[in-house]
Symmetry: D2
């Protein structure tokens, strides 16, 4: 990948409120990632947002003085053709669909969450077919491109692409980089003096090694129940006795599994007070777009950091830089398992440390996998694989198996009721199920 | 194992109400299993029952006219010394302890069951150290003996023995033979015309092949929701749509996992009406021993079949016969995994078809493992391995991980409360935890 | 497989001198294997032999009084259509081709053998495409038939079929049954009191357990250097020190690998005295056919036992009987590895103990694999897999890799010279290489 | 490993002619590897050489002006105590023993080579017990030290240490860095623009990826039969057809396996002309020590580069720098397999790319393993593992299995003769065999 004339990048879902962040990243990293063309593409329904955020992007680039051409388009194929990198950050069904992903499970006394459980399953069913369509375009129009997928549920989407297309694709989450940022601040050091080892799946990982300047900090962190937390997960406290025996620093998403009762209670209370998380986000986004409109704004506004997906863009730019420059640094990514976790299928997607070479990421063997984590990882992976199969086949029987397999779904009876109501609600986005 | 003078068998927990059944089995199979000495051994607290059932055993043998010497003893080492087979069928803490295994979880809205969940965990914590003590005696006094373990939770006990002693041991359950009996009756054929393939763990298996006279009957059985059921599991109905997609005929114990809400409801109702299952069993046992007392009784009374553990003895005698005669027939047993289920550790105990040779059972590779089953198998195996570790170390932190890992325990908060109360309740039987 | 009207069996290469043996087997086992139609099929070049041996078969059946119809045909598709079992025992290129398989390597100071080394490779290149053609017919005309393959090199042929067709196929060798016959005689017992465990590949196995009436005899046999030997392998003596450290009773074919120098010397001497083994066999066969012609002959002549492939037919009939009756006994067969030998690919053919059920053989896990054997097994399997690939693609570069990989070929230089001369010699039988 | 006061390094075999090179390396890398104490240690027999080379080392350090203390000692324990790094570069039996490693096999028409075949086996038998003794000292006196092992046969020595001691150890060879040097020169670029992937064992590897500035060069290199070669391996030409089909750029040591006949011929000719390679090296060394004596010499003399082990020291210093600084760059090292090559045992040593972190190297999964390479890798690994077992037990039966298993040894007969003569020759260095 050594283009004399510079790189072409296509951002699918370019009308997203996150776009200013990734544009800022591209500007900052221009020397290592010489972009010539940046294509922001969105669907008809997102045209208005694309225009607002696209114009801001153009103003940001103009201010930087860099020779990057920003293109706005609704024509996906045009954006993809000949691209070096394609990134996706989209939401099939928009925030409206997410609202039901969160709300319907809550009605049944089940966690409502957009990346796992019944909500995550619906999001996967809506998203996977669309992503596989995009992959067909990439196979045809940009077969050498790297697809960087941010679209949640990132683990399932990445696995679906790896198993059902030929596109070179990597799944990305902001949690790993977020942990490094938090550790850097806490220990007053830089990220390259921190070594962490991730074990598990997207939104279901344990950090089994944390070394700062060569010293083990894992025990200390578990012992004090110190935690960093995502913007989108309530800051419920871990049980200290439990944490000490856990053998790894848990992802904040693990609260949904370990602290289910408290988390559900919080969800129900928050629902009463503020509506679903989708509705909260909707309001934040509306405010952001209000800001973006300002023709004098030429940079990413501070308020974007409140949005929840902090560092997503930094993660993406870092990855592109390493792929482009064969940098061989270690990043935590969603990739195909191979033999890393020997209890999962070789073609399963996992979230794991990788060395990023010019030919792609090589996943690193893990030092140890806590016994405690294996059952839960496998239970969720079972749900993920059944969900992927259901997304591709539209087979309701498999969808029922998927739903009933999820550890947060208490019984087949509840699974069936949830499935019926949620499939119906998502009908417009699930052609495979309603042929 | 070709003893000119006949075999010596030691039955630990010989005062059990099941003993007449195994004695009947020995009498019927004498030609293939020439027993010279049968030692029934029990603990002080079981002395009274041992005498009653032991005298019945002597009357049964006398009636048969066979040259078997029946010995009753409280001296375990004497019973074990030089034995060819040792079988265990005991209950540390007696039915009184079981009562709390069932009752305490119910108080927290959790399934109370003596072989899985919090109840099964307590039973494992009580039982494993005692079994390992027995194994030390066998290692010393009868190193070539086969240990046939019926004691529940049979999977965990078998795995603990395999990993922590040198005794040649096999775990046994009556469910596989029970399925064959049911199929034989249903299809009016004999067991040797039936081929079934079991996948999973003890009390957590799926039957993935059922062939009767060479014809596949699995689909038919799933399609009609026909079911056989254990005496000790309520006959709740499966969801037909779910069953069709399951890919295997489920063990009746799987109802606790798939139909949790209905099963819990039934438990709570039954608890109100009849007390715990332990209390019901207690009454049945009292009646049985009343019968056993009758000096005119010279055979196994019909009423024993109501007891719940039907065919246990037949399973045991079949296994001894095959081991003794290098019979090389297929039996479903609890043995060490090896590479059969490639997602579990090699030293995990699984329940699987085996060819029983004179040197022991060889587990058979399985044709397929339904994707749906993997997560649940691994989740329960995780709980089992942590429980074994807790039983051996008496480490409360590991015990908390075990409890929290069980799919029927809804959160760490509940796990902790259950653990605290149940350990306290079992204090007399858990010296490792209360040093 | 429960045919009211009796079974149909097709024997491809029916004009073979072995046919009377298999016919005798069918007659003896009629009760367990009720054959209605026996089709002997051969190619035009074998028509004359087919007629002679076919008439003998008819006379044998007539004498037995059984209602078996014997058909002789040159129409393979007619023979296969609707068959329950197809067996193959053929020799592409006839004994003439074998002559060169043995002779050319000898010229280069290399072992000349028809089932391994350069000779075995040529035989595989000639045979595999023909067998895969037969498989296409079976897929179309008898999709439920079992294919029993005796055709050497049986391991490679079995693997090629398993990987490149959908036919249910099993590879067979007479060595395992030969060992049992030898042990039965030596220890004056019956085969069902003998337990042996085979590890390795066809013509490259170690017997790692030998128990007679429950007692280990392996050490004793190795210690005394006692040996049984095939008719087709010179009876060179093993080094006693070496044998004691070997950890398994070696297949007599292993002499080619361990005693290469002595075996080569014997080959060269025998070549001088009697010509190649192919020429010796040719003379034996001519004599046999002379006998078969006799219209008064109604049974298998004694002289056939000198032929070298003793017990082949017994092995085949045993296997058919177990498949047909779901007998679940243990037989040593060439089947797909799965996870049995964990250092070989899952789709490699290995020779291993299997339980033969009505749905096919299930390979049994092996107790141990001697460290010493692994390297050699893997080296030969590498050659086998490259040879299979060469047979299917006709790619000379791959053929060179195959030849150079064989442990009996001393260098790439010799490999290349051998390959050039042997491909040229086999030109008429290798259309893929001479397109 | 953040020592305020600087590092302590112990070089075992410090009297080696290579020492000036490593001293030069330490001086050049002082900024990244702040050494405070450098201990050169040797045995009594090497005292004279230690003094000569030690004084040169002191002069070199003095000239550099760096605050490194150079210590010369015969007291190994003193040198090791509290060391941060221990490196070994020794030759048990000195060049005299090597002479016979090379000469005796040649007498039997077998390749005589000090790192593989019968010669390598003898070297391993002499060396492994000594290295394990050193490891005991390290376990006791410097438990946190890294042991960098250059001592050949480096693969077997590394595996022996990993399996039989607790020392953190890494095996090193100069071939990987040598390839990079050669590629850098050939393509006029720097090493960080080259990506290579190694598959195999020490002195038995295939390079399956060679990318220069992101472009694949493997095919081009194979196609032109271009080769780089070690000083210690004759530059025999590869067969071009063979090379093209090989799927990887072969280590120059592979010539002993693939071009055995030509290599043997060259050995025999060279033996006649110049004596064994050991004798040639002896003369080179004598000349080097003559130079080292010169009190005016203050730097590594140019002539050292002719010695054969070019870049050894650069490899060692690079590795220490990366370990000390948690550099996370990719180096090709001899480490424990884990799951990288799935056909070898997990505890086997392999030569493979690793990311070097502060906690040690993490081996990288390999992209592909050529089918062609597997058999040979496994055959040699079999020999290696048996040799290690023989070295530790002194068991002659196992030694015979090891010798007979090596692909360059043509038969058990030759193996036995070689073993007898070579063990006898090495008697003074093999106490375990002559108890």
């Amino acid at each position: 990948m050594t283009k004399a004339q510079g790189l072409k990048i296509a951002v699918i879902g370019g009308g997203s409120s996150y776009t200013p962040e990734i544009v800022e990243g591209f500007i900052k990293s221009y020397e290592q990632l010489p972009i010539r063309e940046l294509w922001l593409v969105d669907i008809e329904a997102g045209k208005h947002k694309l225009e607002i955020v696209g114009e801001l992007a153009k103003r940001m680039v103009a201010k930087s003085g860099l020779p990057i051409d920003v293109h706005l388009t609704l024509d996906r194929r045009k954006a993809i053709a000949g691209a070096d990198f394609v990134s996706t950050q989209m939401r099939v069904g928009l925030l409206e669909a997410r609202k039901y992903d969160e709300h319907i499970p809550n009605k049944y006394g089940v966690i409502g969450q957009e990346t796992t459980g019944p909500g995550g399953m619906m999001k996967a069913l809506r998203t996977i077919p669309v992503l596989l369509d995009i992959c067909k375009d990439i196979e045809e129009l940009a077969p050498n491109a790297w697809l960087l997928n941010f679209t949640n549920p990132a683990g399932m989407v990445t696995e679906a692409i790896a198993r059902h297309s030929k596109v070179k694709s990597i799944g990305l989450c902001n949690a790993p980089i977020g942990l490094h940022k938090w550790l850097s601040k806490k220990y007053d050091t830089t990220s390259d003096h921190i070594y962490t080892e991730f074990v598990g799946l997207n939104h279901l990982h344990w950090v089994t090694r944390i070394e700062v300047e060569g010293e083990d900090k894992l025990t200390e962190l578990l012992d004090k129940r110190e935690e960093y937390s995502g913007k989108n997960v309530p800051a419920t406290e871990w049980d200290l006795d439990f944490l000490r025996g856990l053998g790894g620093f848990p992802s904040y998403y693990l609260k949904y599994f370990y602290l289910t009762d408290v988390m559900l209670e919080e969800q129900l209370e928050s629902l009463k007070a503020n509506g679903t998380r989708a509705e909260v986000v909707k309001r934040v986004e509306d405010e952001l777009f209000e800001l973006y409109r300002d023709p004098d704004l030429q940079e990413k506004p501070k308020q974007l950091e409140q949005r929840g997906g902090a560092y997503y863009s930094e993660a993406a730019v870092n990855l592109m830089v390493s792929l482009y420059n064969d940098k061989r640094d270690i990043q935590t990514l969603n990739v195909t398992n191979g033999k890393i976790l020997d209890f999962l299928p070789e073609d399963a997607a996992i979230e794991v440390n990788c060395v990023v070479t010019g030919k792609g990421p090589i996943p690193l063997p893990v030092t140890n996998v806590p016994e405690q984590a294996k059952g839960l990882i496998h239970a969720v992976k079972t749900y993920e694989r059944l969900t992927i199969e259901a997304a591709i086949t539209g087979d309701r029987a498999i969808a029922l198996q998927a739903m009933a397999s999820h550890p947060l779904v208490p019984s087949v009876k509840v699974a069936k009721a949830l499935l019926d109501e949620m499939l119906e609600q998502n009908k417009p986005y699930l052609p495979a199920f309603f042929k």
